[in-house]
């Protein structure tokens, strides 16, 4: 630990301790009568209002990956594969405003906790529900691992734990941070990240506002920052013999790549189980709607964070550091370290670390709920009591985090990023089942399952085949599909929908049973604030929600 700045280190440590205390104290926040219920542990009592949800969803959607990887991509390749994230976070809100309130209403009426719960109830199909649950867990694992990669980037720049050659010792700070996270999530459930999100966002906003106004004055203003970005992106890369990137997408190909990446990512975002968890934890339809108009405030912040990628190019010292390390992920941490006084570097680094812990906690809760509800209960123990489900979820959240930890420590960081790209492509394949189901029952369950399979296989193979002169496989998520340069995920989901359409026509014509639908049309627009929430009757079969009676009023306390 030779190059550690102790002022920075102390501030990060103190803020981390504060967060730890808050994480444990969260168990007592809005305390429920019965914590041993998934509505409580997994959804924070389903009672969060606009204010809390704004922080929770913000903490959920804008992760360390956003703070580290988006500017890294802008630093390396510019607008198309980096700044598209801004366009994507714009598009996502008008799109989800159309379907999320419906998901919330039907989930409230039937006590659904995961997206797969809804698919199960809507299509009466265990297979389709399993496919959605499986995809969700699969896509979340690398996403959690990437939060750790974000923390690692900060620790590396801080000089903490990098001197030892022993893997375990080298990553000890990361392991400790993660164990703490694991334990307070186990104890407090969704309440912990909801409460910590306040601290996270306060710190992040503080750092970004300071960065926006202070950094340009140190390195010659925004004009110079954009000029440095443009110069770097225009330069011909010695390895690929092509320009480094695109400053403004002027060619048709780059525009199509830009907009398909943005659209595909926007459609995928709220298919992620952790995003659904955040939405279902709100107390009313209006809370979600209001948040869709308030969350774009975060996107403003994201846009400026993205531009820090160009700032890192404009600052010669930072650019040299990053090149020497050969890791663009370090661009923002190095930029902060070089330009801020060391105490503020501590605040900024703490913001990134905490910004990684909050979504990691929510993701592990979401993945645990999927496993418990849609795999364990569905296939192994249909009569699992709410208490057993909660115990199961708690343990699974630990297992999932440990898995992600191994991922982050054992595998090369670039591997996690590749998997994250794949995760985006995969999760998008659940879009047709989830979203079409909110509007129509026309699609046949088996057609949707076949479409999902087709999309998964096509997407995975297409992503595998992406190559650059420096990387032979998994080189990105944009490639030429069907004659156009597009985001692979979007191409795959179009194929997915096409398969679903054709097979639905065939299956309906041949009168293959389409399964039972336990939802009613009005439950998609019901709003318990206006009309009292219906108490679902305990179904005769064990497949429903045993102990569902009484669930509904928990959110009211």
């Amino acid at each position: 630990m030779s190059h550690v700045n102790y002022v920075t280190f102390t501030i990060v440590l103190v803020l981390f301790l504060v967060v730890t205390l808050v994480g444990f104290a969260a168990a007592r926040w809005r305390r429920a009568e019965d914590m041993m219920h998934l509505n409580e542990w997994g959804l924070g009592g389903r009672g969060f209002g606009t204010f809390v949800s704004w922080f929770l969803l913000g903490g959920d959607l804008y992760t360390a990956y956003t703070f580290i990887a988006v500017p890294a991509a802008v630093f390396g390749a510019g607008a198309v594969t980096g700044f598209f994230a801004v366009s994507y976070t714009i598009m996502v809100f008008p799109i989800v405003l159309i379907f999320l309130p419906r998901l919330w209403s039907v989930a409230r009426a039937h006590n659904y906790i995961t997206p797969a719960d809804f698919v199960r109830g809507r299509y009466g199909s265990r297979g389709l529900s399993l496919a959605v649950a499986f995809t969700g867990i699969l896509a979340l694992m690398p996403y959690i691992a990437l939060q750790l990669v974000g923390i690692q980037a900060v620790l590396t720049v801080m000089g903490v734990g990098t001197t030892s050659t022993n893997t375990f010792l080298k990553d000890l700070p990361l392991i400790i941070a993660f164990l703490v996270l694991a334990v307070f999530t186990y104890v407090s459930g969704l309440r912990a990240p909801a409460l910590i999100a306040f601290i996270k966002d306060t710190l992040v906003y503080l750092v970004i506002i300071v960065a926006i106004f202070y950094i340009p004055t140190r390195i010659g203003g925004w004009g110079h920052i954009f000029a440095a970005g443009q110069a770097h992106l225009k330069a011909i890369s010695p390895t690929t013999h092509k320009p480094n990137g695109v400053f403004i997408p002027i060619s048709g190909n780059s525009q199509l790549a830009f907009s398909t990446l943005a659209l595909g990512s926007a459609l995928a975002l709220f298919c992620y189980p952790h995003a659904v968890t955040g939405v279902l934890s709100t107390k009313s339809r209006d809370v979600i709607k209001r948040n869709m108009s308030l969350l774009p405030l975060y996107s403003v912040m994201l846009a400026f964070i993205a531009l820090l990628g160009y700032a890192a190019l404009a600052d010669k010292t930072t650019a040299a550091h990053v090149k020497k390390a050969g890791n663009a992920q370090l661009a923002v941490p190095y930029l902060f370290q070089h330009l801020f006084p060391s105490w503020f570097v501590g605040v900024a680094f703490a913001a990134i670390v905490i910004g990684a812990l909050v979504p990691a906690a929510i993701m592990s809760i979401a993945a645990a709920n999927l496993f418990t509800r849609n795999i364990f209960r569905e296939f192994f123990k249909p009569d699992a009591s709410p208490q057993l489900q909660t115990r199961m979820s708690r343990w699974v959240s630990l297992v999932i985090k440990l898995g992600a930890l191994l991922f982050a420590i054992e595998l090369h960081p670039s591997f996690s990023i590749d998997l994250q790209l794949l995760g985006g492509i995969w999760i998008l394949q659940t879009f047709p089942s989830l979203v079409s189901g909110l509007f129509t029952r026309w699609f046949h369950r088996w057609a949707l399952l076949a479409g999902w399979l087709g999309g998964m296989v096509f997407g995975t193979i297409a992503a595998y085949k992406v190559a650059t002169p420096t990387t032979s496989h998994w080189a990105g998520s944009v490639d030429i599909e069907f004659g156009h340069t597009v985001y692979i995920g979007l191409a795959a989901v179009i194929l997915n929908i096409a398969i679903s359409l054709v097979l639905t026509v065939i299956l309906n014509a041949t009168r293959v049973p389409s399964g039972a639908d336990e939802t009613l049309p009005d439950q998609y627009t019901a709003d318990p604030a206006a009309a009292p929430a219906p108490v679902p009757a305990a179904p005769g079969l064990g497949l429903g929600a045993p102990g569902a009676a009484g669930d509904q009023n928990l959110g009211m306390t």
Binding site: A79, V86, S87, I90, M91, F93, P94, I95, L97, A109, H110, W222, G223, I225, F226, F247, I248, P249, I250, Q255, F258, S259, A262, L263, D286, K289, R290, M292, S293, L294, P296, L297, S299, V300, A303, L307, F439, T440, R441, S514, E518, L520, P521, D522, Q523, T525, A526, D527, A530, A531, P532, A533, P534, V535, P536, A537, G540, L541, L543, G544
Partner: protein, 97 residues
């Protein structure tokens, strides 16, 4: 099999409001999806190339537009209310599997 029919009544009851909501939402997506509209370096606004300026300004504008949508959707609500309440009241027996 059930068909979603009833909730359409609120759209039918407020055709103008519904149309405005649809137009705002479609426009909000279109004006960012259609990249040729703003993929230009000029006119520069301050030090910001137009492309970057456009996307930055888009977000607060979007926030306001979506707030208007949420307000307009409130107007749609009174009509379906008695309807929804009646159905919700009839719910408990519906999970006959």
């Amino acid at each position: 099999m059930t068909q979603p029919v009833k909730h359409k009544s609120s759209i039918a009851a407020h055709p103008v409001t519904s149309a405005i909501i649809a137009i705002i939402l479609i426009a909000a997506v279109f004006f960012v999806l259609w990249v040729p509209l703003y993929a230009r370096a000029t006119p520069k606004v301050g030090d910001f190339p137009f492309f970057y300026f456009y996307l930055l300004v888009y977000m607060p504008v979007l926030g306001i537009a979506l707030w208007i949508v949420v307000m307009l959707q409130r107007r749609l609500r009174p009509a379906p209310d008695p309807d929804a309440a009646a159905v919700a009241g009839a719910d408990p027996g519906e999970v006959a599997q």
